[in-house]
Amino acid sequence: MQDLIPAQVRSRLKELRLVSRRATGQQGVGLHHSRSRGAGLEFSQYRAYEPGDELRQIDWKLYARSDRFFVREAERESPLAAWILVDASASMAQQDASRPDWSRLDAAKALAACIAELALRQGDRFGLVVLREDGLRLVPAGDGARQRDRMLLELHALEAAGGFPGVSKLTPVWDRIGATDLVLMLSDCFDLGVIDLMQQLSAARREVLAIPMLTVEERDFPFHGGYRFRDPETGEELPGDGDALRTGFLRRFGEARQALHAQLDASGIRHAQYVLDEPLDLPLRRLFGSRDAAEYT
């Protein structure tokens, strides 16, 4: 099976960590800060032994000095559940004429694989939800290499078709994604349904991150001459001349993107735009990396 992550990107992933602002760590040992205490590496306090404490948690050196049992407590670092939501509506199949084998969905698959890799490395659980009009496809959250392979298998078979699912079909999302989980949305964010879903998740105390994905043609509009533009989801067509349409489109599209960014900011959704000719790890770097390291390409 073909590796979704290019080798260069994979090497650069080592500098990145998935972090959540809301992770509280109630289950298991992980990398994320928590307010509850327990076993762990980072020392927190000593407390008196109580029946039921594990013998191995007793600090035997302190017992030797003081002849009393103390239990060494550490700050608990808890794992996180990262949910990768991939929009697989037909608009995601769009690609650039200059690079026809690299569609928006291909980039989304690669990004999803990257995120899975990050989560796997730091022991977090991760799951996949594919959003498509004919029904969701779901890989329940889990951890370990087998979970990653399961997810890659699902991604490889994925094809973009149809529109964005309606609200009624989104119930499994709410069933599976628990509060304070990390949600990463990979979509073009053209559909209002996507934005609504993100806003609702964010309002329900999920940590939502968005990677709006654009093609180069949407950013630059490099069309000259006559074209028949077709919306892949509605099938609508618009004949027009590239040069005549360019200025108006770029202005309106730019305004729409700014409005989207403002909307996401207002909802507390962190976002990093990705254009298909950019390095794959750039949006991840913007979201998870240190600020100054983010912009190099």
Binding site: R228, F229, E236, G240, A244
Partner: protein, 393 residues
Amino acid sequence: MDLTLLAPAALAALAALLVPLLIHLARRSEQRPTDFAALRWLRQKPKPRHRLRFDEWPLLLLRLLLLTLLALWLARPMLDGSASQAPWVAVVPGVDPAVAREAITEADARLHWLATDSPELDQPTPTGMQPIASLLRQLDAELPTDVPLTVLVPEVLQGVDAQRPRLSRAVQWRVLPGTVPVPEPTSPAAVPRLAVRHAPERKDALRYLRAAASAWQPAPKDSAEPVAPDLSTATVDEPLDSDVRWLAWLAPGALPAAIEDWISGGGIALLDSDTTFESNAARIVLWRDELGQPLVEGAAHGKGRVLRLTRALTPAEMPQLMEPDFPRQLRALFDTPPPAPTRVAANHYSPTLGGETYPQSPRDLRPWLALLIVLTLLIERWLATRRRRGAAP
């Protein structure tokens, strides 16, 4: 200067201009289907679709230019009056070039030798005798009518006609010191031998020819004896000597091929009236009797000439045989005329007015147009086949 078209109907070829226009226009209506998810931001203000637009303006213009040039080429454009108006100075060989230069004060004057092909004055002096009168008339006819013509001549002219040239314009005729080479005077040549080839039945005619040939010989001063004629007579079977130039062929029937070749090689033959000889050359009556009836017709044949008697050489048919004038007439038939005098004092030979004017031949622009067309074609091909080019026409 004005442009004329010899074949203006060919401008109909300009209709071909529509072809590149259509080529560059037709592709516009072809619309490539493209998936574009951000359609709703594209649709806000629909543009009018039916606006005439053309692809690749430079290439289109170049193609239009190419077709226009081609149509113009077909229409055969001519440029009138493009010749220079600078005064022309013709210097007759014999005048010292330095003297000629001093004599001319106009700065823009064109100085040329009056010689074949009109070489410039910087060229060495043309040698050989120049037909001055002929060259003058040619020059007058070829120069535009308003170009002043000055002719510098030496004191004596050589190679002129028997009359003063009549030119279309007033010529400034200036006599300068200078000489022309005097040709060697040609001495009258000795009378060539007349060879006679005759059939037996024409034997009686020989006596008249012999008498005439005898009369051609210069008479000796001291004796009254008749001079022996320089005449060789033989039957038709006898081949000709190599030095024979004049021949009298007195035999009926076809002329042998050997004699015909000899005439073509430069011989002059007097043919019997019964000899059959076909020639394409025009016949001229050279000798008529008192009533105007032709006696001898002449025609050129190759380098030589054929003289044909129209009657038999008998006194009954041709009483002129008996006249004292006959030897002179016969000789005149064979003789080439002596050259006319061509030498004249220059100041008596100034041209007169009243000659005809000739329209100037306009300059044909087609070679230059062809060059331009080839250049345009090369540029067009380069533009159309260069690598960085869209998939347009």
